[in-house]
Structure formats: C-alpha cells, structure tokens
C-alpha cells in the first residue's frame, strides 16, 4: 500500500504544481504548457504500444481522424463536438481493428508492422488532401468560431483549455499505470520476447495485442480532437501522415517510452526546444531547431534507447524497473 502511495505521491505533487500554473503565468507560457500537455498525452498513448515492441508509424492516422471528424461535423452539420469527438474515437478504434486484426493474425511484426502502419498514416493524409473541397486540403481548415461556448467546446480564455489538457494528461498517465500494473503487461512483454512461446503458454496473443492497439488509437484520436479544438486550425501535414507519425515516435523515445513521465518529457523537449532556439537565434535559422533535434534523436536512439527519463532513473537508487526489452 505504501508502495502505491510512494508511486502516486510525485504524480499528485506534480499535478498540484501544474494546476497552479495559470495563476502565475502569462498567456504565452500557458499556450506552450497546453501544447506540451496535449502532445505529452498523445506521446504517452503511443508509448503504450511502443514499449511492447509494437512500433506503429500509423498514429498520424488516428490523430488525423480524431482532429478532422469533429471539425468537419461541426462546420457542415453543426454537430457539437460532444458528439463529434466520441464518433471520431469510435472511428479510430474501428480503423485500429481493421488494420490490427490482419496484422496480428498474419504475424506482421517488426519493421513490416512499422511499414504497414506507415502506409496507413499516408492514406489518411492523402484522403484529407484529396478531399480539399470540404477539408481545405493542404491549406488546412478552421472550425467555425462562436466565442466562449461549452456547446462548441471553444474557450478563448486559455485557462479553460489548460484545465482540460491537464485533466486529460492525468488520465493518460493513469491509463499508463493501469496498463503497467495489469496482467496484460506481463502477457505483452512475453509476446514482445517470443510470440510463439507466449501463445504456447496460453496467452491470447491476438486479444492482448488488439486491446493495447485499440486503447492507444482511441487515446491518440482523443488527443487529436482536443488539439484541434484548442488550436482551431487543422492542417493535414501537422495532424496526419508520415511526418507527424515520426514526430510522435521520436518524442516518446527521446523522453523515454519505458517510464510514465518519459513521453511527457519528450513533449516538453520537442515543444520547448524549438521555442528556446527561436528566441535565441530569431527566425533566421528556420531549420536550426530541427537540425539539432534530429541529431539529438540519433544520439538518443544509438546511445540511450531508454530516453531522458530512463537515464535519470538509472542514476537514482531505487528498485530495478522491470524492462520490456524487445530483443530479437
């Protein structure tokens, strides 16, 4: 029991501190904080799969569906996001099953799984671009704004969205812990080590994999929907496709996908770094932030695959964290 308290304590403190942020900060920092929390939530959702060796490059697809479906319904049918977001989540779950079921049945794993999901995220991107008459194509689209409204889930006052983002982020962390402590974890780790042996032990490989995939997809779509509701601007290149899929994977890895707070640290890193570099260098060096970021990513993956948080954890004296090492 004290173990649970000890695990939860830093989280509660962190949440309490974060809840006070709007009281002391300016809009600009609040804007950055909201993005870090929402992206942190999305990265956490990805890492639910990633840490079990299910490297999906298709999360851009779920993100795109989550963002575009409610926005399109709102703009063209006046459907409230309160209905649009659940619908988009159901669609993302369906897509996860449609792609996941054959993949897991036919044992498409490793980089083949990565490439199939990569194709999926490109499909969603291209459909959004092709439907330019209603989605605005590559130029993006803006949901109709109505000012402060609970019905439309639009809040010009950033404090509201900060509270929503914080709540959603906490949900993400809770789900992470729930998966981490559940029976499914042991099963998924066994599957990541050796699928055949896991099946021989009586683990329902298909059910376990599908469950974690759908969970991950649903949360990602939810994150995408909230991101679109907050930014009130949707662009296919930043919400779907290969680029954003890779961004999700890299942030989660850079932060550390084997730790609860790792992906969030990844979000902090990927959103704060460009901002800091932009302030340092000005806008003359458009690519500077990403160049440094890309180089750091390579360093992370080659030398510290457990990410920033993984590195910190190793320095701290505490009980060894069981590892899900997807060794081949």
């Amino acid at each position: 029991m004290s173990g649970i308290a000890a695990r939860a304590a830093p989280l509660v403190v962190a949440a309490a501190v974060l809840a006070c942020v709007p009281l002391v900060t300016r809009d600009y920092f609040l804007h950055i904080a909201i993005q870090i929390l929402l992206w942190g939530f999305i990265y956490t959702s990805w890492s639910l799969m990633g840490k079990f060796g299910l490297v999906s490059l298709g999360h851009g697809a779920f993100l795109g569906i989550g963002a575009y479906v409610p926005a399109l319904l709102w703009n063209y049918q006046e459907v409230t996001p309160w209905l649009g977001i659940p619908l988009s989540i159901v669609l993302a779950a369906l897509l996860a099953v449609v792609i996941g079921y054959p993949c897991f049945r036919l044992r498409v794993i490793g980089h083949y799984f990565a490439l199939v999901t990569l194709a999926l995220s490109q499909v969603v991107l291209l459909i959004i671009v092709a439907g330019r008459d209603i989605t605005g194509g590559s130029l993006g689209m803006t949901p109709k704004t109505v000012g402060h409204s609970w019905y439309a889930l639009q809040f010009p006052d950033k404090t509201y969205f900060y509270a929503i983002a914080l709540a959603v982020w906490v949900i993400g962390i809770v789900v992470w812990h729930w998966v981490d402590r559940g029976m499914g974890r042991a099963a998924l780790e066994a599957i990541a080590e050796d699928e055949g042996a896991a099946a021989a032990l009586g683990i329902d490989v298909m059910r376990e994999k599908l469950r974690i995939t759908v969970t991950s997809a649903v949360l990602t779509a939810f994150g995408g929907a909230l991101l679109a509701q907050y930014l009130l601007y949707l662009n296919p290149d930043t919400l779907s496709g290969i680029a954003v899929s890779l961004q999700i994977v890299f942030a989660a890895i850079a932060g550390g996908m084997y730790s609860a707070l790792g992906p969030t640290v990844g979000g902090l890193f990927t959103i704060a770094l460009p901002e800091i570099l932009r302030i340092w260098f000005g806008t003359n060096f458009v690519g500077a932030a990403n160049t440094i970021y890309g180089a750091l990513l390579v360093v992370f993956i080659v030398f510290m695959p457990r990410g920033i948080v993984g590195l910190v954890e190793r320095r701290l004296p505490r009980q060894p964290v069981a590892t899900a090492n997807p060794a081949e």
Partner: protein
C-alpha cells in the same frame, strides 16, 4: 483505346523506371544488412543538392557534377553505416529503422537551414519526344534506361564477382559466412557504399525531372520502401516488378481519379498485399 489513357500508361511505365532505380539501392541494403534506411530518399536529396550547387552555382559540367554526387552519396552511405548502423547492429531491427529516421529529420532540417525552402531547378530542359499524338519526356526515358542498366550491372556484380557472391551469401546466412572466412564488417561497408552510390545515381536522374527542395524525400520515401517490401526483401527482380505495378496504379489511378487518390490506392494495395503475400509478390 483512349489516347490519354495510353499516354498515362506509358508515363506510368517510365515512372516505374524511376521508382525501380530508387528502390535498387534500398533493396540491396535492406536485403543484405536487414536494415531499412528510412532516410534513403533524403540521401537522394543530398545528391540532388550537390548536383544543383556544383552545376548551377560553380558552373561545373553536368556529368562531372553527377559523378561527384554519386561518389559523395556513396561516402555518405558508408558514413551512415559506420556512425549510426554499426553501433546498434545487435539491437532490435526497429531501433535501426528509427535511428535512420532521426537522420531523416536531421538531413531535412539541415537542408532547410542551409538552403531554405526554395524549390531549385538546374534549368536543364531535355527535349520531349513526340510519338504520334503521345508525348514522352526524354528525361524519364533516360531514367528508365539507367534503371534497367543499373539493375543489370548490379545483377552481374552480384552473380559473377567474388565480392557479389559473398554479399549474397551474407544475406542468406550471417553466422555461417563468418566461419567461411568472409569478413562481415567489410561486406556491410561495401554494401552501404554501393547502396549510397545507387542513391546518388537516382539523384542524377531525378534532378533532371524534379525541382529539389528539403521535403522532396517525403514524396518519394514511403513509396520506395513499399516497393522494396512488396518485391520481397532483397529480391531485385521482385523490386522491379513491384515498381512497375505501383507506378501503373499511380498512373492509371491518376488518370481516372486524382493524383492523391491514386497514391491512396497504391498504399492500400500495399497494405492488402502485405496480408496476402508477406514474403513479396514473387515469393514461392
């Protein structure tokens, strides 16, 4: 038959040549080292920039610029293997894919930083061949020919030379070949250099048809991986066939619908085929 449809089909065949050429080097690396260079199309981009700067800015003759680009990208491939791939050769294959993915970001943003997001054209216009009512671009024909030639040379190299046979043997069984006295490290380095060189060759032919910009890799990269996987890992002939199937889907789909929908069809075709024939279309 509709003359425009015929033109679409012929252009599809020529596009197939370009895609086959792109897939060639990636396929070799994929087959021999069992690593997906996600940044392969970015290596091609580096080659294209090299040709652009050498030819347009420094006024070098185009052929010399191309030669330098091929050698330069080959060196880049070698460096990629030495610095990034070889330290993590023992870890899960997905890590290698992700590490080269980091390289993709790096190269893309470095190009943005150095050259900006402008579209750059080498300003060399090759003639367009008129065949009856059908227009065929000469640069595409050239790429098509180069792809064929490159494939044949690569095939001869792999089939006839000692080094080529060693490369194929390594691809079949890594452990045994070490015992047979083949230096795996050296073979991997040579393979990476050849893979890079083929990316450089692809750059020479792409630069004739397309403007170079930092994000050009994203438009060629995904389709190239899919062709390699469709053709079957390291299967050169399969890769060739897959390139032409994909290019026909793109060309004919583009004729009937739109270019985006044609790519959607190609990607869905890839996903479905991965389920039906995971070993590649020509697998027995």
């Amino acid at each position: 038959m509709d003359i425009y449809l015929l033109e679409a089909i012929i252009n599809g065949i020529l596009l197939g040549g370009v895609l086959a050429l792109l897939a060639l080097g990636l396929n070799l690396v994929f087959g021999v080292i069992d690593v997906v260079w996600i940044c392969y199309a970015e290596l091609v981009m580096c080659g294209m920039y090299a040709i652009y700067w050498l030819h347009v800015f420094y006024g070098w003759p185009i052929l010399l610029a191309c030669l330098v680009a091929i050698v330069g990208v080959a060196a880049l491939g070698l460096l990629l293997h030495l610095v990034i791939i070889s330290p993590i050769l023992g870890s899960a294959p997905i890590n290698q894919l992700l590490a080269t993915g980091g390289m993709l970001f790096f190269l893309q943003s470095l190009a943005t930083l150095l050259f900006g997001t402008d579209f750059r054209n080498i300003g060399l216009r090759l003639p367009i061949i008129e065949l009856g009512d059908i227009f065929i671009s000469f640069s595409r024909l050239l790429a098509f020919g180069a792809a064929l030639l490159g494939a044949v040379l690569l095939y001869l190299f792999l089939a006839k030379t000692y080094l080529g046979i060693a490369i194929r043997a390594i691809a079949q069984d890594r452990e045994i070949m070490g015992l047979m006295g083949v230096d795996q490290r050296r073979i991997y380095l040579i393979t990476s250099a050849i893979g890079g060189g083929l990316a450089g060759l692809a750059a020479c032919l792409l630069v004739l048809q397309y403007d170079v910009h930092p994000f050009i890799g994203l438009s060629f990269g995904p389709i190239t991986f899919m062709i390699c996987v469709l053709g079957g890992l390291g299967n050169m002939i399969g890769g060739f066939v897959a390139a032409f199937i994909m290019s026909q889907i793109i060309a004919i789909g583009g004729f009937f619908f739109s270019i985006e929908i044609s790519y959607v069809l190609a990607f869905i075709f890839f996903i479905v085929l991965m389920f039906i024939r995971p070993q590649g279309i020509l697998a027995r």
